[in-house]
Amino acid sequence: MAEATMNYDEAISKFDPVLGLEVHVELGTNTKMFCGCSTVFGAPPNTQVCPVCLGLPGALPTLNKIGVESAIRIGLALNCQIAEWCRFARKNYFYPDMPKNFQTSQYDEPIAFEGYLDVEIDTDEGRKTFRVPIERAHMEEDTGKNSHVGGATGRIHGADYSLVDYNRAGIPLIEIVTKPITGTGKYAPEVAKAYVAALRDILRGLGVSDVKMEQGSLRCDVNLSLRETPESKLGTRSETKNVNSLRSVERAVRYEVTRHAARLAGGESIVQETRHWHEDTGISTSGRPKSDAEDYRYFPEPDLLPIAPSREWVEELRASLPENPAVRRARLVADWGLSEIDMNTVINSGALDLIVEAVDAGVDPAAARKWWTGELSRIANDRGIELEELPVTPAHLKRLEELISAGSLNDKLARQALEGVIAGEGDIDEIVKARGLAVVSDDGPLLAAIDEALAADPAVAETIKSGKLAAAGSVVGAVMKATRGQADAARVRELLFEKLGVSE
């Protein structure tokens, strides 16, 4: 049931929003956090399990070092301090998707803490940077997944029975928690979305997660509270769970602002509770109240040793961090002379790294961008494969561009050469030779082909002579066809006009 809301602008004029974001990232490690089971998504239920991740009596956890490394790299990329010594802790609660009825997590000793992330948004005064303070990033394990069969809602209440899939249980998670984000004013929804987007870009850049929100490898909980003025003390917050798209993050913040405002303005208090987000209707509904202050009875996990990452290791990891995506993007936009829109196209195509590689190898940025976002994206898309899976190297593109500038290949022939590369026919020069790909530069065969084309369509010469130069297209086309695309179209046009005695 939808609750009362207040118009957003009115709400913002009366209250100051305070945001808090908790993001869970599933790491892309090959194996789970505490055992050797596979983490591949989509396997049949309960096929990627063992005594450890099923929590069978007697089983013990062992630590995935890559998981720890990823956590440290994430911490560093978020400008956090890295703990010199920290432990896992048990978070005790009973739930059927939790094999041990405790989650191995971190409590008061997170591996990374005290960081920040700068995000940029468009404001009425132009682009502006907000600094999102980060409280901590800690390691934990994912739970299994319940599905409730029967009943109307797909939730546990009213279901006929429930099934549990433990394939996901034990997959490494990093939970990244912000401090209260203040000072956003009316831009709270935009800041929330920009933060999650920036975080996603960083995680993708680090290569630690596939960050697919729709598959749940990046999950976001939105905390929101309102206060009367920025000087007032923090209000009671609501925690909206599983807001799993960037658009929904923005909408959920906006909705909660309007809902809280209506309640507060009506003299009601805010219930501290978790809420469910409904993507379809764009509203949240009440989940379970948090007022009973859930007691997880945390204590240090006795089955795992403390983690003490050496400073040398941390510095090594710091030195090998990729450039911050936002910084890199700004640099490339400037270097390549792109518009923000062009850059968005590049990023959305997933070709940024491939283009950068080509440019580093000496390919003109515009050309590299053209090939990767154009022809090569089309081919990858047709084949249902990732761009990275195409066997096209920066060297291929470099040679192709050299041949085009020299006039010995045109666009069409260049595409054929690339097809040859993808078909595994060798390097560009070998393919050009084997396939006989070369622009015909001798006028003799072109003139012969023009004569043939004119003979086949006697009326066209008169039409062109009468001034309808566009009609030349059909002749050029016929010549191109006759020469199997190897003619230089511009030269054919020149020769045709010369022959007919017209000038452009």
Partner: protein, 500 residues
């Protein structure tokens, strides 16, 4: 009854490897003994006749083929029912696990199988190893072979009883606060709790993860050392397992020379509250140790009186979390699932009816101690006591090579005597608990019978971490003198069991 059952493990291993006796004959002799006396003793919860004979036959095949054998190949053993055994029931003495068959072996079990040790079956225990008498087993108590009306110690009473009743020459126990040593003491057998991390915990159902340690039980020091050497060693599956060479316990058991050693008597572990016969046998041992050329000094460990209280906060806290998984959802007994109840109700009914009163008592204690607002006062404070206990030991071992005390304050008490008095029960472990709190190795060695009740008394020997070999050296030196004095093993003085 075959005389094979009275032989030491080392002797049996020699007979089997030389081909003089087949491993199948040895296994059969012990299975016959179990059939004859275990109705009265109740050391076993599950006897695996078929599996035992099959693994014995496999050893015999190796003997025939001339393959190299381990030091204990073909020797039968009783396994505490807390170690996961692939294909064999593992109940932890609890109804909540009745019928559960693990799909995997504990690392200790894997090592035993690889060594050709013949697992006769699973031995009785206090439910989830909570107790000092084996009376808390959901499947009925085990009886002390010295007097069937008395307890065999606990929690590993099945393991100590099967060894002292000649049902098996060897057994595996686990020791969280004394569950190997106290049963050894009250049954006249030898038991060792190795250094924490010395033996893998993988596949051992956890009671208190930071205290639990599996170890060997046998009728003499050398056999205990042989079994220790088979089960010890680093295991990558257990993060708390120590990655270091296993101390050479076998060589130490053969050395048996304590001349020039410094032995400390822990002042706080003895005296008032200890039975007169326990004290007199202990004092005799001290004199014996001195006569062997060791120097004996008094050592004070002032934090030890707080150990029991701290232990009963740490253990229940960890146990309350470790035992949360027993909810009937994924394995074991499920109670109340009639299709009308919520999952929370089914979990709750499963736990309420599956756990016995002592388990429930400790889960409630631990849940309380970990609760928000109480954590610092209870669990946090107990951890501080633990640190103090470690410091006491560190200070003591700066002065002496090993420490000694009586293993338990009394000899075996009567079944039912302390069942309604948990505190009296807990006090049985007053001398063994500090050793677990500090992760140190400890041994219980039989040193005679208390004159007032003719029941066995144990001497506890404690060594620094990873110096387990010292236990065996000291134990073997004392044992050699006592065997000479008694004219044979102490178990020769135990009454014959009916049916044998």
């Amino acid at each position: 009854m075959s005389d094979l059952i009275r032989k030491d493990a080392s002797e049996l291993a020699g007979l089997v490897s030389s081909g003089e006796v087949s491993a199948v004959e040895v296994a059969q002799a012990h299975l016959d003994r179990i059939a004859a006396v275990d109705g009265a003793v109740h050391a076993f919860l599950h006897v695996d006749t078929k599996g035992a004979l099959a693994s014995a036959a496999a050893v015999d095949a190796k003997v025939k083929a001339g393959d190299k054998l381990s030091v204990l190949a073909g020797v039968p053993l009783g396994l505490k029912d807390i170690l996961a055994t692939n294909g064999l029931p593992t109940t932890c003495g609890s109804k909540v696990l009745d019928g559960w068959i693990p799909p995997y072996d504990a690392t200790v079990v894997t090592k035993l199988r690889e060594a050709g040790v013949v697992i006769l079956g699973k031995t009785n225990m206090d439910e989830f190893a909570m107790g000092s008498s084996t009376e808390h087993s959901a499947f009925g108590p085990t009886h002390n072979p010295w007097d069937l009306e008395r307890i065999p110690g606990g929690s590993g009473g099945g393991s100590s009883a099967c060894v002292s009743s000649f049902e098996a020459p060897l057994a595996i126990g686990t020791d969280t606060g004394g569950s190997i040593r106290q049963p050894a003491a009250v049954t006249g057998s030898v038991g060792v709790k190795p250094t924490y991390g010395g033996v893998s915990r993988y596949g051992i159902v956890a009671l208190a993860s930071s205290l639990d340690q599996a170890g060997p039980c046998a009728r003499n020091v050398l056999d205990t050392a042989l079994l220790h050497s088979v089960i010890a060693g680093h295991d990558p599956m257990d993060s708390t397992s120590i990655n270091a060479p296993v101390p050479d316990v076998i060589a130490a058991a053969k050395r048996a020379d304590i001349k020039g050693m410094k032995v400390g008597i822990v002042k706080e572990l003895g005296g008032e509250g200890y039975q007169a016969g326990v004290r007199s046998r202990f004092e005799e041992s001290v004199a014996l140790i001195e006569s062997l050329g060791a120097e004996v000094v008094d050592v004070s460990c002032p934090s030890f009186p707080a150990a029991l209280a701290a232990y009963y906060l740490i253990l229940p806290s960890e146990a309350s979390s470790n035992l949360a998984k027993f909810d009937g959802i994924r394995f074991g007994n499920r109670v109340g699932d009639d299709g009308t109840k919520s999952v929370e109700q089914v979990m709750s009914e499963t736990r309420a009816s599956g756990f016995g009163s002592e388990v429930i008592r400790r889960i409630i204690l631990g849940t309380y101690a970990l609760s928000a607002g109480y954590y610092d006062a209870y669990y946090g404070q107990a951890q501080k006591v633990r640190t103090l206990i470690k410091q006491d030991f560190d200070a003591a071992f700066a002065k002496v090579d090993v420490l000694i005390s009586p293993t338990a304050p009394t000899t075996a008490f009567k079944i039912g005597e302390k069942l309604d008095d948990p505190l009296a029960m807990y006090l049985n472990d007053v001398a063994t608990i500090p050793v677990n709190m500090a992760g140190l190795p400890g041994m219980s060695l039989p040193i005679g019978l208390a004159p007032e009740d003719n029941l066995p008394v144990g001497l506890q020997i404690i060594a620094p971490a990873m110096a387990d070999d010292r236990l065996y050296n000291v134990g073997a030196a004392i044992e050699r003198e006592l065997l000479a004095k008694w004219g044979g093993p102490i178990l020769g003085m135990a009454p014959e069991l009916a049916g044998a």
